[in-house]
């Protein structure tokens, strides 16, 4: 069952900027959905449209089967939202702020107080509980935002770039937390950091220039576009590595390669099963006495898939626009789910 769905959702700012363009998106209940896209792709706008913080220029969004609008408090009652680089009332302490949030959700004091205490402890803000929010670091503010988004024990979490500005430890903590929460809740998390999505998400949507160019499972994303793409970490004399690369380039099933330092990316023909050409590449390394330290990288695969999607989208831009126009002219709703 789709817990979130959008229907030709479009947002144009002041007849100048098209932020979201006819997006049809469906997020299934229980999934961890990653919204991928470069900076300025429209991720934050799309999430704000889902919350009713922004008003659509055309189309509409439904959450829990109900239309979202500015006064859809009953829908937001079931959502936990973490904005990107969140800003909270600077003079309040975390306790005062979470208490306010609890009151907004209509929680009685006997339920609110223990809940906020548990959350402050859970996000490790206990030592800073008496400090005003204005003295918080980025990481602490994000952790407070996480606590605020969980105050109402929501069914749906919408987290916008939760790892932005965090140090490695904070990032790992947040990603682990998303995985943990994903066991019991539906989570939508946006990011332009592909490895984060790759690590925690079951489903992904790729947003480019306000349009969804892919929507499906992360596994399908990688298999569709990146399955014949491996990355090898190699070590050996430059001459030997060079000779190996020449031999690899001459292989009939290899359609491209690229050496960056110790990393060799090799792309095979998509119609050929991966095992045989990969064995030939490893044999070539053995012959040239080049040591292979590691093979493949999911990060690289996803990244490459993502970049190729964007490239293809740009290349097909005119065709898609033309098709979309033709579809509109024929009165059939367009499908931009990639």
């Amino acid at each position: 069952m789709a817990i979130v769905s959008t229907h030709d959702l479009t947002k144009i700012y002041g007849n100048k900027v098209i932020a979201v363009n006819g997006v049809n998106l469906h997020v299934e209940e229980g999934s961890i959905f990653g919204l991928l896209g470069p900076n300025g792709a429209g991720k934050t706008t799309l999430l704000k449209l889902l919350l009713g913080l922004q008003l659509p220029t055309a189309g509409y969004a439904e959450v829990f089967g109900q239309r979202v609008g500015p006064n859809a408090a009953h829908i937001r009652q079931r959502i936990g939202y973490l904005p990107t680089n969140p800003r909270f009332p600077p003079n309040l302490t975390p306790i005062a702020y979470l208490d306010l949030i609890g009151q907004l959700f209509g929680m009685p004091a006997e339920q609110r107080k223990p809940r906020l205490a548990a959350l402050i402890r859970a996000v490790d803000l206990l030592p800073a509980a008496a400090r005003p929010i204005r003295s918080f670091s980025t990481g602490m503010t994000t952790r407070l935002g996480i606590a605020a988004s969980l105050m109402n024990d929501p069914e749906l979490l919408i987290w916008d770039e939760p790892t932005a500005g965090l140090d490695p430890a904070g990032r790992k903590y947040t990603l682990d937390f998303i995985q943990e929460l994903g066991r019991t809740k539906t989570v939508i998390v946006s990011s332009h950091i592909l490895s984060d999505i790759d690590r925690v998400c079951t489903h992904a949507g790729v947003l480019q220039d306000g349009q969804i160019i892919y929507c499906g499972t992360v596994r399908d994303l990688k298999q569709t576009i990146g399955r014949n793409h491996v990355e090898l970490e190699v070590d050996g004399p430059d001459e030997a590595v060079g000779a190996m690369c020449k031999e690899i380039a001459a292989m009939p099933d290899v359609i491209g390669h690229q050496l960056r330092g110790y990393w060799l990316q090799v792309r095979f023909r998509p119609e050929v099963p991966l095992a045989e050409p990969l064995r030939e590449v490893l044999d070539a390394a053995t012959r040239h006495h080049v040591e292979v330290l590691s093979v493949s990288s999911t990060k690289a695969q996803t990244e490459d898939a993502f970049i190729r999607l964007l490239e293809e989208d740009q290349a097909d831009g005119f065709t898609r626009a033309y098709t979309s126009n033709a579809t509109l002219a024929s009165g059939v709703p367009g499908d931009s789910e990639g």
């Binding site: 922004q54 859809a72 937001r76 800003r87 003079n91 009151q103």
Partner: protein, 454 residues
């Protein structure tokens, strides 16, 4: 419903708490405290020798809110939404809270704080002025004036929140509101929308505050040694018991001075004794320098009375009264206007024929646009003429000019005492002028905020 109310109250409390930490508000409170202290101290200590009317002191204080403190009120209200736009989105409106709840709570929060401060300060100064200054006001007129100014401040708050929502930029909102409040105000007056103008309200505050009911002499009764004068309302006892405040003639032309004067508050009557009055003679008494307890001086239109000293020998067919000797022309004292009529009050009894000739009256409303009454009806007991069949706009100045009207002795009314210009000050017009736009601005703020991206 309960959850919705809890959310609204939570935002309201948070906003009031946030305001209480604002340095603009703290600065205002400090400056206001100093100014009010100075005003009260001046009223209590400095004015013992010079009795300044309470209406002037209260009007100065209320005018300060409209013309000086309004700058700070503009800053406080015009930054209500725009100063924290991103915080509102991230921390409040992304939760279970509607925009209507939020903006209504904002409007209420700012109004409660600003009007609360205003009401406390205005009430303290009003009480001090009423208690210690020359009290020409009544509790009712003070309440009306404080309420009307409160509505003007409410309009300012509503406009501030509206501008803050519309412009989403505090500096632009503040500048726009300053321009509207201070620069556009005189334009409203010129455009005939006087009741939308805070400057006009400041100018008319003393008139709103002053007790509109002057005490009057209703009638008198005499014995051979005393004279009792009955007033229309309770008057100041000290002035009432001063015999020098009564000019007594018996018979007319023969001055007499009372030895003592005793005031009876329950009857609102003073008994002047120590007089030698002839039986069957007419006694004329004129009262001066007597005011009501609010400080309003006795009406010149009704400051005298005539009565006859009973003559135990009279059979009921008394001799003809002596003819009055009167060389003074009548004077037009004041007018009271209604939408279709004007009542004109004169200083003495008039000749009925000339008084009831409509051609003797010229009304200009507004000044420069003359019209004539269809009928004029003289009422001897009130020394007034009711001019009817008019179409008057009470919100613009009007002028009445009387010609050829004579008193009973045949003296014709003369300039300059034959005309009066009056601008009717109707507080409820100001209440509407500020109250209705305040509601409209609040409604627009709610509507606009509901149509805005965050």
């Amino acid at each position: 419903m309960r959850r919705s109310l809890q959310a609204s109250l939570a935002i309201l409390k948070a906003d009031v708490a946030s305001l209480s930490r604002s340095w603009v508000l703290r600065g205002w409170l400090a400056a206001l405290l100093l100014a009010e202290f100075f005003l009260i101290a001046t009223t209590i200590v400095g004015l013992r020798s010079i009795r300044v009317p309470a209406s002037n002191i209260i009007a100065t204080n209320l005018g300060g809110f409209l013309l000086i403190w309004s700058t700070l009120i503009i800053v406080i209200s015009a930054g209500s939404v725009s100063l924290e736009a991103d915080i509102i989105s991230d921390s409040i409106l992304s939760r279970a809270c509607t925009r209507t709840q939020f903006i209504v709570a904002k409007l209420l929060g700012r109004s409660v704080v600003i009007l609360g401060i205003y009401l406390v300060a205005a009430s303290i100064v009003a009480y001090a002025a009423y208690r210690y200054a020359a009290a020409d006001v009544t509790p009712a007129t003070m309440a009306v004036a404080i309420s009307v100014v409160g509505l003007a401040l409410l309009l300012l708050v509503s406009l501030g929140v509206l501008f803050s929502v519309v412009f989403n930029n505090t500096i632009v909102s503040v500048v726009a509101l300053l321009l509207l409040w201070y620069v556009a105000s005189p334009i409203f007056v010129f455009a005939g929308a006087e009741y939308l103008s805070p400057a006009s309200l400041v100018r008319n505050l003393p008139a709103v505050l002053k007790d509109p009911q002057s005490p009057q002499v209703l009638h008198c009764s005499a014995t051979k040694t005393s004279l009792t004068v009955v007033f229309s309302e309770d008057v100041d006892q000290e002035a009432a018991e001063n015999p020098a405040n009564y000019e007594i003639e018996c018979p007319p032309g023969n001055d007499q001075v009372a030895q003592t004067a005793a005031y009876d508050r329950t009857r609102a009557a003073v008994t002047l004794s120590g007089l030698t009055l002839g039986g069957g003679q007419t006694v004329r008494v004129r009262v001066r320098n007597v005011s009501d307890r609010g400080g309003t001086m006795i009406s010149e239109a009704a400051d005298s009375a005539e009565c006859e000293v009973p003559d135990p020998l009279a059979t009921g067919h008394s001799a003809e009264k002596p003819k009055k000797s009167d060389a003074a022309p009548p004077r037009l004292l004041r007018i009271s206007a209604a939408p279709s009529s004007i009542r004109a009050f004169f200083s003495e009894s008039l000749d009925q024929v000339t008084a009831e000739d409509p051609a003797n009256y010229r009304i200009e409303n507004p000044i420069g646009s003359p019209q004539a009454p269809r009928a004029a009806s003289y009422e001897p007991s009130r020394r007034s003429v009711l001019l009817s069949g008019l179409r008057l706009d009470l919100h613009v100045p009007m002028k009445l000019t009387v010609t050829n009207v004579r008193d009973e002795a045949g003296n014709a009314i003369r300039a300059p005492a034959n005309s009066i210009v009056q601008t009717e000050v109707t507080p409820w017009r100001y209440a509407l002028g500020f109250g209705v736009p305040a509601l409209v601005a609040a409604a627009l703020a709610v509507l606009w905020f509901n149509r805005r991206d965050l």
